[in-house]
């Protein structure tokens, strides 16, 4: 099968990129073990963020029946920033810094999952079919989160505001290794659940009427998928901060490369492609360009251009 070949090639690609990441320019002597450990942590973080973003985006696009919207475009990044601002405003700089890392992470994942399922749940209560309205609401909520955030930002004193700014820019370089175990568990659970749903996701992608006619419990299934999307997106956002357009690039690449509508192919491909993109991109910025730029900025720039391209080509339905 051609699809299996593509998947194997992607897995091999990720292995190769990871090997370069680990071994390139390794110092000899006592520093070696230290550098290896540091690189392994960062590699794990990049792969986790990639896999969870890739899977979340594919899941979300299937539910929304739309190839352009992503959880991030729906305002997850804005919610994350608002959360950071509220924490600093409530606890002050010292309190914010003193928060135990795991508690902060668990809180973020929990609150983001809860809020997003509330948002979707309220809209889905009335028949699970008004996807355009859900999307509009998402966009409007995103604007509201941003406005609230700006308002609280005015009230904060300048030092606190600096801390907020620090926390609310995506960074692949200052990823917190203590979050990795929890992130790994959540990503694994989410990935396995998504894989088990692959057949039902294929049916859901046919549209509401066909899915119901074929006996899919659509009203129950859609909120389940959305909860999964919320958890996976929260993991990625909590690990590295908001990156609006990354999922869009990954989904575009995945559909372009796989030429298949089967989620059993799409989900692993999206996870692998996202991981390769991140590791490769970070390699380039960190080792080739000597930290002259930030990967997140590069991704947003390329993703923004891609989004415009899709808009102009009329691919948004």
């Amino acid at each position: 099968m051609a699809r299996r070949t593509v998947l194997l090639a992607l897995a091999a690609g990720l292995a190769a990129v990871s090997a370069i990441w680990m071994l390139q320019g390794l110092p000899s002597g006592p520093a070696r073990g230290f550098v290896l450990g540091l690189r392994a942590e960062r590699l794990a973080g990049l792969v986790l963020v990639g896999a969870s973003t890739g899977i979340a985006t594919i899941l979300f696009q299937t539910v929304a029946a739309n190839r352009v919207l992503t959880p991030q475009i729906m305002g997850f990044d804005a919610l994350y920033i608002l959360l950071q601002t509220l924490l600093v405003a409530a606890l002050g700089i010292a309190g914010f810094a003193a928060l135990p890392v795991w508690a902060k992470f668990a809180g973020e994942v929990g609150v983001m999952a809860l809020l997003s399922s509330l948002l979707f749940g309220a809209l889905l209560g009335q028949g699970t079919r008004d996807i355009p309205r859900m999307i509009l609401t998402g966009v409007i909520l995103g604007v509201m989160f941003r406005a609230l955030n700006a308002f609280i930002g005015r009230v904060l004193d300048p030092n606190e505001f600096a801390v907020v700014q620090q926390a609310s820019f995506a960074s692949f370089s200052k990823l917190d290794a203590t979050l990795l175990p929890a992130g790994l568990v959540l990503t694994l659970v989410g990935g396995i659940s998504a894989a088990r749903m692959a057949g039902r996701l294929d049916v859901l992608a046919l549209g509401r009427d066909s899915a119901i006619s074929l006996g899919l419990r659509q009203g129950r299934f859609v909120p389940m998928v959305l909860a999964l999307v919320a958890i996976m997106t929260s993991v990625a956002t909590a690990l590295v901060g908001p990156i609006t357009f990354f999922g869009l690039i990954v989904a575009g690449l995945t559909h372009g490369m796989m030429r298949s509508a089967r989620h059993a192919d799409l989900l692993p491909a999206a996870a692998l492609i996202a991981a390769i993109t991140l590791v490769l991109g970070q390699l380039g910025f960190e080792r080739l360009m000597g930290q002259a730029g930030f990967l997140s900025v590069g991704i947003e720039f390329a993703g923004g251009l891609f989004f415009l391209f899709l808009l102009i080509r009329g691919r948004i339905r």
């Binding site: 028949g127 009427d209 066909s210 074929l214 899919l216 509508a261």
Partner: protein
């Protein structure tokens, strides 16, 4: 038999269906006719559980559809709504194969592949099976959806305006195919039809609706009369006869 009792439906403050009670016969080709906004599609979608039941009851062969698991319903009736574009890139053969999903739930057997090929052949799609859905015409896509519905191999088929996008030859072929399913495989078909002459030529049972109510129902020669149709569509209609069936004349 589909037994509908006391069925009402509202969207906002608009009353779409108003206290409808009727029996749709088993083993027959039933046509739902009526002017735009009569509630035909809503009635069909309520029977097919595509809309949530508000008031009233619908029983499929004696079992209340509200209390029958949706998986079980999918083995007894197939519903084809009006098509909207789908986001995923599917080949026609893959689309038709989804008709077998209620039976295998993701693990196809050799039998399923054979039924899919039969359905493709029945709708003249064997040559197009490898094409993508967005690379065929609207009528060809419509035939693929119909093939999927037939591949589901259920006792009941509910079709919402299946003649949309079909040319004269394919429309006639579809009606003939539906009539054949009813006569030879003892299936029951309920379909919304706009062009009354297709109902006149092929239906066994006609249900005429207007303003959310059933105006008349019965055999074609009972319902498709000049008096009923003129009143139904608020426009003068004459009815002749052709090959022993009513022929509706509305040209001048």
């Amino acid at each position: 038999m589909i037994r509908i009792s006391g069925l009402g439906h509202r969207i906002g403050s608009a009353r779409i269906l108003d206290d409808i009670s009727a029996d749709l016969p088993r083993g027959a080709l039933t046509a739902l006719i009526g002017p735009n906004g009569a509630g035909k599609s809503t009635l069909l979608r309520l029977i097919g559980r595509l809309e949530t039941l508000q008031t009233g009851q619908i029983a499929l062969d004696g079992r209340d559809i509200r209390h029958t698991p949706t998986e079980a319903l999918a083995l007894r009736m197939a519903v084809l709504g009006q098509q909207t574009a789908i986001a995923s890139r599917l080949r026609l053969r893959e689309l038709v194969a989804f008709g077998r999903w209620p039976h295998h739930r993701g693990r196809p057997r050799p039998d399923d592949a054979r039924i899919v090929e039969d359905a493709l052949a029945a709708f003249g799609l064997l040559d197009l099976g490898g094409r993508f859905l967005d690379e065929v015409s609207g009528g060809q896509a419509q035939r693929a959806y119909l093939a999927m519905t037939v591949a589901q191999d259920t006792d009941w088929l509910l079709l919402d305006e299946p003649l949309n996008n079909l040319d004269m030859a394919h429309a006639r072929a579809l009606m003939a195919r539906l009539a054949e399913l009813v006569r030879e495989q003892k299936k029951s078909v309920v379909t919304v039809i706009h062009e009354v002459n297709y109902a006149a030529a092929w239906a066994d049972h006609v249900v005429a609706m207007k303003g959310g109510r059933i105006v008349a129902r019965g055999a074609p020669h009972e319902v498709l009369t000049s008096g009923i149709l003129t009143q139904l569509y608020d426009t003068p209609v004459e009815v002749g006869s052709h090959l022993g069936r009513p022929l509706i004349l509305h040209h001048a």
